[in-house]
Amino acid sequence: MHNKTVAELSKGLAAGEYSSVELTQHFLTRIAEQDTTINSFITVCENEALSEAKAADEKISAGDATPWTGIPFAHKDIFCTQGVKTSCGSKMLDNFIPPYDATVTSNFKQQGAVCLGKTNMDEFAMGSSNESSYYGKVTNPWGENLVPGGSSGGSAAAVAARLTPAATATDTGGSIRQPSALCGVTGLKPTYGRVSRYGMIAFASSLDQGGPIARTAEDAAMMLNVMASYDKRDSTCIEREVPDYTSTLNNSIEGMNIGLPKEFFSDKLDAKMQQQVQNAVKEIEKLGANIKEISLPHTELSVPAYYIIAPAECSANLSRFDGVRYGHRCDNPKDLEDLYMRSRTEGFGDEVKRRILVGAYALSAGFYDAYYRKAQQVRRLIKNDFTSAFKDVDLIIGPTTPSPAFGFNSKGADPTAMYLEDIFTISTNLAGLPGMSIPGGMVNGLPVGLQLIGNYFDESRLLNVSHQFQKVTDWHNKTPTNCR
């Protein structure tokens, strides 16, 4: 059952081949047996999941089911779940039991989906290797010494290891696409404003966006059908009709114009990766698409612009953790200053502190124009690159990451080495565009991520091209070496 896709499981449940309780128990057993080594879950919701499954089975027999009724899935531990711990991978929120649901959480509940648990992640979604979680690192199912990527490393690893058919995730600079690439699964970061951020713990509010991680484009489309919604509680959410993303999967891609940005095929890209991505592009060309080279000249500036904007917004967002209303509070504070200082110092890990400090510095008196304003100007230049490119092409394709999964502790003491891991994904967040990563090849026995970037609200096209690609390739069906 664990090798089936969401689409297949949905049919199986409708046909009565198995019950949601059986399905849910199957995945709970796999998590209990295998997650001791992978560590992709922070919290497993065994009792809640089984009672949700029972309710789903009743709905199915009553003929009152949606495609998601009774389907097990997992939430990244950044989405608030009423009554279930939501830690955001931090000691700061180790005791946090949300009194409300995120909009994404409610959307899945309304469909009668079954939440297996909450997945591991880099602390406050800050990281590209899932090594910064307070709950320990996550192991990539493709190799016990390899990182799964981050920050949604738990979601990507759990889907790759078949511990859940699908999982929610979030992406601020590549946190859905990069772990999807490193774990060989399919992940989509929607257009900024497509998925509500209400109840999704904030890191950098002008960049954060929730999206799906699944094994296929078809499953990602099914997930986005649930995740995307207009929400008055998120003032940056865009009021726009949500199409049925599964209805256009089988469209022909003949005559579609696809651009390959020359800056994505530079010397920053591993040579073997380059070859695999080119092979994948040839497959897409065979399906009738026209391929041409394009230029996104400001690509190189995306990492520096991001490392001002994201830390600046993070330092503002994380100022809410004060030890007063919720979260970690130090013992015996001697005064208010001591309460703030020690609660925050004890509650946050090193990478989070580093980013708060960079952000506080960039926003401090006298530096605002030189840093934040400058970065926001460069951000517009990056967006303009894409706007010009989309006058000529319908879709942009390139690698998701410069190299396949890397080893634990391999980026050394300089934090900027890790930051450059996101060189191909960050510009999409800065521009607010939708981006997707799908398995597109293998290098040294490890998955290679193929990245697709679309115009605003063109998620249907990303899913359509990915689905057509997955119909003629089987990279997405490869099973990780450590998956039993």
């Binding site: 009194p99 520096p304 580093r354 510095y361 967006k383 900027t416």
Partner: protein
């Protein structure tokens, strides 16, 4: 841009974080590396470029000034570290 120990102490104070004496050098050098990376931006000509605040230039939505949420004070305070009579407790601020 090179960050000194004193700079780290100052911004840590602003951010309400404590950095140990023995960590100051390390943090200063890490922050210097990060600011070295972002200093590439200074070479870019951004004359007459409007800073970008929202990808699709959306504006803040206004709503009628009406009560739309219910009062959940008890649920919210149940997860607070210390409360009394519906108030959040902090150490004494004014003598």
């Amino acid at each position: 841009m090179s960050i000194q120990r004193e700079d780290v102490e100052k911004i840590a104070r602003l951010a309400k974080l404590q950095i140990n004496e023995e960590q100051l050098e390390t943090v200063a050098s890490e922050l210097s590396n990060i600011l070295g990376l972002v200093d590439q931006l200074q070479a870019v000509n951004t004359d007459n470029i409007e800073p970008m605040a929202h990808p699709t230039d959306a504006v803040q939505i206004l709503r009628a000034d009406q009560v739309t949420e219910t009062n959940n004070r008890e649920a919210f305070q149940k997860i607070a570290p210390a409360t009394e009579n519906g108030l959040y407790l902090v150490p004494k601020v004014i003598e």
